[in-house]
């Protein structure tokens, strides 16, 4: 049972800023996902919580205790590494048992606890194998079992799925979600994959170059991105972002004219999600009229892309919609699906 507080935590190497003024509170039993592209400081933040990296500034508080100067072993955490970090000389059983052994937990309970952890990740029949004899997914499950065997206060997971293939990723993701629900342990999960973030998180923290961009539930992040970076990072495909000017409630740009908006006049960035818009007849009633740049068949839908407002804009059409490249097409973008962003700062313009 532990609440984690990060009070203005920063990490700098010389003049390079890895994490800048990270300030937030992670509730007990919360599943928090740190999301961002490579080098955004998400892993550094997690390693500072683990004690593998020292915070340059600020306090890290776990369960009401400032842990800045504590060794990793004294912070009551468990960590799962991207590349497993299993002990190659020990078999699966000994790997899972290792935390109990070094922490001098009563030996009589070892067997039962190892077995329970192994059962949770379905590893019972592999207990006598060495890590080298396991597949990637099995190795990552050993790492998971090693983390849960001690029932720590905090789980830290550093991109645990990124070395697995797509199918295994989906099933292991489900397993992690279920484990966390069952064990009710505060979990911090680092990933660059926004689908993992959306599916797993209670709350998502989107980071860029060491700075928090937005904190919110997956729905908030998806429906109301705080700036163009979050809008362009979350969703598959990401939000369409067009450049243009707003005057008197009408957004106009290259091949595009959307009226009925409200916002300050001047240059703005307008965004909308591909699945919210629709294909329409060409003509004045269509907000975008442009030749088709490309058409992609996704199976459940057809993706039509045109060039408008200085960017490639994608819209989802029904799955049997067909059109040739360079044919003109009209796209229907109602004003209520549009998000407006400041063109200079990228920040959301709320009305």
């Amino acid at each position: 049972m532990a609440e984690i507080q990060l009070k203005n935590v920063s990490k700098r190497w010389g003049s390079f800023v890895g994490v800048d003024n990270f300030d937030m509170t992670i509730a007990d039993r919360e599943f928090l996902v740190l999301l961002g592209p490579s080098g955004c400081g998400k892993t550094t933040t997690m390693r500072m919580i683990a004690g593998l990296e020292e915070a340059t500034d600020g306090d890290i508080v776990i369960g009401g205790r400032v842990v800045n100067d504590l060794d990793p072993k004294d912070r009551d955490i468990a960590m799962v590494f991207q590349s497993y970090g299993l002990y190659p000389n020990m078999n699966v059983y000994e790997n899972i048992r290792f935390p109990l052994k070094v922490r001098k937990v009563d030996p009589a309970t070892h067997d039962e606890r190892v077995m329970r952890a192994a059962d949770m990740v379905e590893l019972r029949e592999f207990l006598h194998r060495k890590p080298a004899e396991l597949s990637g997914g099995q190795r990552q499950r050993v790492a998971l079992a090693r983390a849960i065997v001690r029932e720590p206060n905090v789980f830290l997971m550093d991109e645990p799925l990124s070395n697995l293939d797509a199918k295994l990723r989906v099933s292991t993701r489900a397993q992690i979600k279920n484990l966390q629900h069952e064990l009710k342990v505060t979990t911090i999960y680092v990933t660059h994959d926004q689908i993992e973030a959306m599916t797993l998180a209670d709350r998502v923290v989107v980071m860029k170059r060491g700075v928090i961009q937005q904190v919110g539930t997956p729905t908030e992040i998806y429906d109301r991105p705080a700036n163009t970076f979050v809008a362009g990072f979350i969703g598959s495909p990401a939000m369409n972002l067009m450049e243009g000017t707003l005057s008197g409630g009408t957004f106009s740009g290259d091949h595009v004219s959307i009226s009925g908006l409200s916002g300050p006049d001047g240059p703005v960035t307008l965004g909308f999600r591909a699945e919210d818009a629709a294909v329409a007849e060409t003509g004045p009633q269509a907000e975008i009229t442009a030749p088709v740049y490309t058409m992609e068949l996704l199976g459940d839908a057809t993706m039509i892309t045109v060039k408008a407002g200085g960017a490639l804009v994608s819209v989802k059409a029904s799955k049997d919609y067909r059109i040739e490249i360079d044919e003109p097409v009209g796209l229907n973008i109602p004003a209520e699906i549009c998000h407006l962003f400041n063109q200079k700062t990228g920040a959301r313009i709320d009305v």
Binding site: P72, I77, S83, G85, L86, P88, N89, R103, P131, R139
Partner: protein, 385 residues
């Protein structure tokens, strides 16, 4: 496993590489083969101008010290059986009878018993039996190949070569122990440290390794000779004279060898992913526990390979031992050189050759014992990749 045809080497390349390998083997093996042949012959044969006389040894045969065809065949058969036993039956028996936590002790006892049994059978039992058989067999029992062990007996028993052997053992054991202990700790520290200081320490170590050995010896010689006077203010009358002491040589050899062991162990440690350290730290280990329980078990191949190199350096060293040790404490290599340098008879020369053959035996033994360990790949499965 069949090699795909696109990867197969052309015939000419295969022939030339095989030819080169064969040529290299002959060049490398010839000296050992030749001194081994010389060492079991009468001096007249050993220094004969005709190489066939050296190999077959007519003079040795004429003086009644030869092997018949039967003896050769039986000897080879016994040797083969012994090797077979040592490689297959012995490990199985040891595994079966020694309790798991005393496996090392089991091995030591097993190997000692086996070696003793082999010596008794091969040198005690076989010669009288074969000589009795040979007299019965007639033409097949006639000795054709000169073979005598008298030089070995002369070296080990009459010349007390075992004293040199013990000295060599003390010095190599000391050098290997010290340089591995310091080397693993320093190598681990340097491999895991990202600081500039670590880099410069390594460069300085390299510079010291590059110095000629004679520089170190020349520097150490005067203080070692005068060490009793130098140390008297500290140790009083108990101050020792370091010159001539084995542990003085150990100190010098370690200082020569340490930079190399540090470099080598450091590169082994660098191949161990840091994730292992980190996982161990998070799982509850202190720095030292992580090193002891997680890193060292993965490091054995590196430690053994490095230990083997340290062993070879100390075992084969001539310069340091010959300069810093007096005649009574001499190790094997300088002692053999001493045999050659004396103004002596040809018999003494063959004895020196026999001593030279003797000192290669431990090397073969060592490489055979550790060949399984001298492979990397123990980290397989630790991390992705």
């Amino acid at each position: 496993m069949s090699v795909p045809s696109s990867m197969r080497q052309p015939m000419a390349l295969r022939l030339s590489s095989a030819g080169f390998l064969a040529f290299w083997c002959v060049i490398a093996a010839f000296p050992i083969f030749w001194i081994a042949v010389m060492s079991v012959k009468d001096p007249v044969d050993a220094f004969a101008a005709n190489p066939f006389e050296v190999i077959f040894g007519p003079e040795t045969v004429a003086s009644g010290r030869g092997l018949s065809i039967v003896s050769i065949v039986v000897g080879i058969a016994v040797l083969w059986a012994a090797i077979h036993l040592a490689l297959n039956t012995l490990p199985r028996l040891i595994k079966q009878y020694s309790p798991p936590h005393l496996l090392v002790v089991g091995w030591i006892i097993g190997v000692l018993v086996f070696a003793l049994g082999f010596l008794i059978v091969f040198f005690g039992l076989l010669p009288p039996v074969l000589s009795a058989v040979n007299t019965v067999l007639g033409p097949f029992g006639k000795p054709i190949l000169g073979m005598t062990t008298e030089h070995y007996r002369a070296v080990w028993v009459d010349n007390a070569f075992y004293e040199n052997f013990i000295n060599s053992l003390i010095i190599t054991a000391g050098v290997v122990t010290v340089s591995l202990t310091v080397g693993t700790l320093a190598g681990y520290g340097l491999a895991r440290s990202g600081s500039n200081l670590a880099f410069w320490i390594l460069i300085i170590a390299l510079v010291f390794r590059a110095l000629p050995h004679s520089v170190l010896v020349a520097g150490y010689l005067p203080p070692f000779i005068n060490s009793a006077e130098i140390l008297r203010p500290i140790l009083g009358d108990a101050a020792p004279t370091l010159y001539g002491q084995p542990w003085a040589v150990i100190a010098v050899l370690v200082s020569i060898n340490q930079p190399f062991t540090i470099w080598m162990l450091r590169s082994f440690f660098q191949n161990i992913p840091t994730e292992l350290d980190e996982a161990a730290r998070v799982d509850g280990c202190t720095h030292f526990q992580a090193f002891r329980w997680v890193i060292m078990p993965v490091m054995w191949p590196g430690v053994i390979t490095t230990g083997l190199f340290s062993f070879l350096l100390a075992y084969n060293d001539y310069l340091v031992c010959s300069l810093l040790l007096d005649a009574q404490n001499q190790t094997m290599v300088p002692a053999i050189a001493g045999y050659f340098n004396r103004e002596t008879t040809t018999t003494d020369q063959v004895e020196a050759v026999a001593a030279a053959v003797s000192i290669t035996a431990p090397l073969f033994l060592l490489v055979m014992i550790f060949q399984r360990q001298i492979v990397s790949g123990l980290t397989a499965g630790a991390v992705k990749g």
